[in-house]
């Protein structure tokens, strides 16, 4: 699957070169180019993308200010002509730091880092029989015990793992997870939800409730859900 990305760069020649590298790689679906942080944020607040190629010094606000204000956490490759930003790049946990101009080979190295991380985040467990999974969130691999997960909700190209205490957003899909989670615990009940069967509090018509949260059940899956429950 291609990664969706945007370029946030005020220098035309740099943005064009980057777009050319993206196209050549065959791994990127380019969603747009923005010459400043304001226009980029307007787009990013209503669209989810996997990857940002982000310049630092731009008119108005800096690339770091964009990262402070974006509502979710896409992967980020910083592109700047100033090496001094490498430290900030580390602090913001970006995937890589490309000093302009960079060669296509160097671009691919950076892209491979992102792709490798995506592959890890798309593999929540090595088998579907374990009692836990690992997910990639906030730049870390986080262990989640099956017992702690209430449900998993789709958010476009991302999913949200909901536990009693926290929510974790990671790059993945319900379709992919359905194959990989432990089926003794989990079941898809709707195109946007996988639930932990052991956490259902009650079922009413075409909805079920977990920890006070209402989750829809697809009409075509309702009978399968009921089959999985011990009904006396």
């Amino acid at each position: 699957m291609k990664m969706s990305c945007v370029i946030i760069e005020d220098l035309k020649v740099a943005a064009d070169y980057l777009a050319r590298c993206c196209e050549k790689s065959g791994k990127i679906e380019m969603m747009g180019h923005f010459p400043d942080v304001k226009s980029a944020l307007e787009y990013l607040n209503s669209h989810t993308v996997d990857l940002l190629f982000l310049d630092v010094e731009m008119p108005g606000a800096t690339g770091f200010e964009l990262l402070d204000n974006i509502a979710y956490k896409p992967k980020v490759i910083l592109t700047t002509s100033k090496e001094e930003y490498a430290y900030n790049a580390f602090e913001y946990n970006v995937e890589d730091f490309l000093k302009k101009p960079f060669t296509y080979k160097r671009f691919i190295e950076a892209l491979d880092k992102v792709t490798a991380e995506n592959e890890i985040s798309s593999t929540p467990d090595k088998s579907n029989s374990g009692n836990h999974i690992f997910i990639k969130s906030d730049g870390k691999l986080i262990r989640l015990n099956n017992d702690d997960i209430l449900f998993i909700e789709s958010m476009g190209d991302y999913v949200k793992f909901v536990t009693r205490d926290k929510k974790y957003v990671t790059y993945n899909s319900i379709k992919n997870l359905e194959e990989k989670v432990n089926k003794d615990y989990f079941m898809k009940v709707h195109r946007s939800y996988i639930i932990n069967l052991l956490k259902i509090d009650d079922i009413r018509e075409n909805d079920l409730f977990i920890n006070g949260i209402e989750i829809p059940i697809s009409k075509n899956l309702r009978a399968d859900v009921l089959k999985r429950l011990t009904i006396l």
Binding site: D10, L11, K12, V13, D16, E57, S81, K82, P101
Partner: protein, 131 residues
Amino acid sequence: MNPAYVHKKFIFNEKIDEDYIYSLYEQDYVYIAEVFSSSLETLKEESGHFTSAYESSDINGLKKATHKIKPLFGFTGLLHHQEMMGRFEHLCETASNTSNITIQYMELTELIKEGKNILKDDCNRLTEFIS
């Protein structure tokens, strides 16, 4: 059918690092011509900002214009020019006002002018080369 220039090698201005150019764009001369043309246009615009920032004693504006011009020289293989822009950018970060860096500003103005002339000339020759 391949274009006529495909087996020929373009001779860049001696101040342009051709190995560097080929490492970025291989021998895609059509694209190299586009890069040179686009860089030249931006350079013309930004060198105007560079001059006006200095003349209005706007050290921050001067730093910003320098920062924007610097990679243009990188994308066009003028690596010495790029390096000198980087040094001047650093000077702007530490200088309290523009009068402290007048000599360096004058030198850099000449360097930018030279860079523009080189790009203009090579851009024209490249256009001929690929036509």
